[in-house]
Symmetry: C2
Subunit: 478 residues, 2 copies
């Protein structure tokens, strides 16, 4: 059995506005009908694979469980990184965690934000690397390059092996993201693969590699794993030692120094969807080079991506050429396709000017479900709140606002100053300023509630928590 390690803590900005810090790209439907994370999990939910270890951040833990549940996959462990420290500490933590119960385990480390259309071919490549990994190699999976890409790291392999039949070959050296000329040269030689960040190795090999090449990481990560605390089905790495880990990638920390490394060439299709130009490329453009998604009307366009991310938002493109347009109700991107990388700078500019769209979506995901602000006025705010079956918000009170709750779907159990009642569709409840209140969903379907807040201050941090089944503190998020 191979234990997949799904790395799921990333939060790039180049796919803004769809991908935001609060809800990064691995959780979005960029291609196809499932999210990139769901597709990655399903790619390794097959005979020969154990339940996956997912490594993610505290803000994403409930998104992970919801998305796995939706595709019917039980995670082995969800490891929570108290903060993002890049890939090396995450992989080492997973290896140490798995080693504790299964010292002979083979780990398949894979990012959860990539597209691999042919999952069977991918599993065949993994199988091709298995013997080498069991024999003590760190096996990477190198993508046979199809263009002079400057956005990836490259890896050199011996001559005449790139187009090989998938057997492991020697990995001679890593090349950092090249410039265009260097990328074209490497492509022409036929001796280079793209580094996809996918690794297969035994836990013993992996830990030994850290011992040899990154010994300073071992102590804090060991301590963080040893001190990990089980919390509602998650395993939360100990905060203090974790925070002491240097932020470093597995390539820098280990792979560039290791000698027992191999590469399995993979040519069946792969993309990391690093920017909107690559989403365009991977989305099967029509004969005119146009990709549309959602309610879009394209007139006389070519070589363009037109995405509306909302059913209620009509996007019209006229006469566009080489344009990427992505529309959401709170943010719209229109970019020259050749400058897709600059979305990163745009997000930084939005952050500098204090626009909340830089990092957060209108919809806010919480342990119990999600909510969104429908309208915000001077002394009022209206929210839609969705509580999943069996979940509950904390018992709380507010100093500055009163709330009206109207249940519009399902049934709520509502507590106000100690009195409990069931509230069903079309019934309402008033929560006076200062009252201790809680809403729960005791039913079997989502409960949807409209909340109308009135008061002089309506910030999320006006909250006193008396009891919270998700172990959140005062003033912490909802």
């Amino acid at each position: 059995m191979i234990t997949p390690v799904l790395l799921c803590g990333g939060s790039g900005t180049r796919l803004w506005p769809l991908s935001r810090k609060s809800y990064p790209k691995q959780f979005t439907n960029l291609i196809g009908n499932e999210t990139l994370f769901q597709a990655a999990a399903r790619r390794v939910a097959a005979p020969g694979f154990a339940a996956p270890v997912v490594v993610t951040g505290p803000d994403f833990r409930f998104i992970v469980t919801e998305q796995l549940q939706a595709v019917g996959i039980d995670p082995g462990t969800i490891l929570i990184e108290p903060s993002a420290r890049n890939t090396a500490p995450a992989i080492l933590a997973a290896a140490l965690h798995v080693a504790a119960s299964d010292p002979g385990a083979l780990l398949l480390v894979l990012p959860s934000d990539q597209v691999v259309p042919d999952a069977a071919a991918f599993r065949a490549a993994v199988a091709a690397g298995e013997d080498a990994a069991r024999a003590g190699a760190i096996v990477t999976f190198g993508i046979a390059p199809t263009r002079p890409e400057t956005g990836y790291g490259w890896m050199e392999v011996p001559p005449d092996t790139v187009e090989g039949q998938g057997a492991p070959v020697d990995l001679l050296r890593f090349v950092e993201k090249p410039d265009a000329d260097r990328a074209a040269e490497m492509l022409a030689t036929g001796r280079f693969l793209w580094n996809a960040g996918i690794f297969l190795a035994s836990v013993a090999t992996m830990v030994a590699a850290f011992e040899a090449h990154a010994p300073d990481l071992l102590a804090p990560v060991r301590e963080a794993v040893a001190g990990a605390r089980a919390d509602l089905g998650f395993l939360r790495l100990a905060e203090a030692p974790w925070g002491a880990c240097p932020e470093i990638s597995i390539d820098f920390a280990v792979m560039e120094h290791a000698t027992n490394r191999k590469a399995v060439p993979f040519a069946a299709g792969w993309s990391d969807l690093g920017d909107w130009a690559s989403v365009h490329r991977e989305s099967r453009p029509d004969a005119a080079g146009v990709v549309t998604h959602g309610p879009v009307t394209a007139i006389g366009c070519r070589d363009s991506l037109l995405r509306s991310e909302s059913e209620g938002l009509e996007l019209v493109g006229i006469g566009l050429s080489g344009v990427l347009a992505v529309a959401m109700p709170d943010a719209v991107l229109v970019a020259d396709a050749a400058r897709a990388q600059e979305v990163k700078e745009a997000v930084a500019a939005l952050k500098r000017k204090g626009a909340r769209q830089a990092e957060t979506l209108p919809r806010d995901f919480r342990p119990w479900g999600w909510f969104e602000t429908l309208v915000q006025g001077e002394r009022f705010q209206v929210k839609r709140i969705v509580v999943h079956p069996g979940h509950a918000l904390s018992l709380q009170s507010h100093v500055h606002r009163a709330e009206h709750w109207i249940v519009v779907s399902g049934t709520a159990r509502v507590t106000v100053d100690g009195a409990e009642r069931l509230v069903s569709e079309n019934q309402s409840v008033y929560i006076p300023l200062g009252a201790r209140h809680r809403m729960e969903n005791p039913g079997k379907v989502d409960m949807v509630l409209i909340e109308v807040q009135t008061g002089s201050y309506l910030g999320e941090d006006d909250i006193i928590r008396y009891e919270d089944r998700y172990a959140r503190g005062q003033g912490a998020k909802g």
Copy 2:
């Protein structure tokens, strides 16, 4: 005194998504801090001008009164056209209406959707045409052309008069919208002006011109004016005869045939903002040719228009060149600037596919204020409703839905099955299915209310009206 006639019934589609059939461009802030209609009304609110006659459609009548009130202008009359019949019937109706009380009046007919930056220069041009008009001419105001524009009609005048000092000159002939070569030729001759659709004539001259050149219009328009019905300060033209009028422009009906016509050249700046490319041109682009409006971040763009029409909507443009981008929360346009005219076809395509964005805005303007849908679910809908001081919705009931009302600003007087009460900020009312109910705003400031509807059918047409101060029928709008 000159009586301005503001033509305000138009509803072009080339400025979609900002301008829609339900709220056309003359009522929007395309340039500057007031709407085009407000700017037009203020242009002729000056010594020497009587209160204006506004000719508009039934859907726009309350927008007209609200916008005039906001700039402190009292209309003389607001003539309601039961349907849009193009400019000739509208101008004749205004002339006949004014003639009834003041047979010697001088009319200045002007479209309400144009930009004229220098109002004083415009009034000076009008003054320059006054003697000729009083002497029996129909005086038009011709714009000194600045480019080979194919979107306008042109007018030929004698040599060396285009750059004249504003005195009336003979108007030799009209030229329909030309092709590019013809437009360039006309521009080069210096003997042509653009037809701006602005006319000065006495009511007697105007009526006589219709008698001579469009006698078939006279009978139905006379009948529509004679049968006009006063209604809440509006004068509603009689529907049956009005509907019998041919749809025809003043140019075709009268101007092309008239011999007593003159033109006053006008060179102080003018635009009809016929499409987004002209909005770009008139909005003072920066050195790179870029115009932004609203929360916009433009990185490395040139010769582009980037407009976000909502404070809560961030628009980002990267590396754009010659692109028009207009973003609203429910609709986004991204177009090649050279193809701005095709917005019209895009709107037609949206209409064919049944997208409500083709013609209506999220905000729905009614006699008493406005409302917008905040969220629509399977069996619920949430609206924000704003009622202006002193106004009231009709006394009504619904067969399929119950409603919860929460007042979030101001005070409402609410009637439910005969019982009346005052509801103030942070108070709520429940309207059971079938109950006869009404909301009024008895206060001095806008009343804002959140309405949560639940039920099996939530269409606007589930309404039984018992009493309505705005004289609307069963199933009619709000």
